[in-house]
Symmetry: C2
Subunit: 131 residues, 2 copies
């Protein structure tokens, strides 16, 4: 942060995902990690309880789900609302930042879903090639 007398456009991005120690890279890795991205996608459809997420995100274990939720909560992408009742009830919902992130992930997922035939073809071709 050494911009002594910068009078250019309001804000300049000083953070860089390519930089190993940058918060944005850590957050990027957190967001794109296997289960977190799917959790965000699920929450983009509306608030969910723990068990609902577990069922929605096919194949996630309770351990990984809990871990992903903690990470996303820590980065301020989602809100955890513990009703404090018995039996327990905890609701998860996206913050505005989480919603923006989830929106980009949705675009990505849509692109990939639409490209499935192309991808399948490419894989077949690649795998049939020698070496």
């Amino acid at each position: 942060m050494d911009t002594p007398a910068a009078d250019g456009p309001p804000q300049q991005l000083v953070s860089d995902v390519f930089a190993r120690a940058c918060t944005s890279r850590e957050a990027f890795e957190g967001v794109t990690s296997r289960w977190s991205s799917l959790v965000l996608l699920a929450l983009a459809e509306g608030p969910h309880r723990f068990g609902e997420l577990r069922r929605r995100v096919e194949g996630v274990s309770e351990r990984m789900l809990a871990q992903s939720l903690r990470g996303l909560e820590r980065d301020g992408l989602l809100l955890r609302a513990d009703a404090g009742t018995i039996p327990p009830r905890v609701d998860y919902s996206l913050t505005p930042l989480g919603d923006r992130v989830a929106t980009s992930l949705r675009v990505l997922a849509d692109t990939l879903e639409a490209a499935v035939p192309s991808i399948d073809g490419s894989r077949l071709d690649f795998d049939s090639r020698p070496r």
Copy 2:
């Protein structure tokens, strides 16, 4: 693919990232995996050679870079052009699909880069909270 006589909008998405065995989920995981996403981001800035990518993507090992490149090539997201010369020269560039994917990742990265102060604050707050 069981849409016997659908006459609605041209194409309907039948693939679902939430489904464990779906190609789109596999591709999604491939694309969002730790190094692949960074490689795509780097290639979005233009074609790169192996060594250039290695230097651009801070912290990647040659093994992981090679592995990521194979995966992305297999899914048809990038093109590998081996000059066949000695010393070796291999150029990597994005396909149209890879470019679309990289664009979404760029949006995601921009969002996160801009949110760094917010994320740092959230982390500090989260970590200072008891338990």
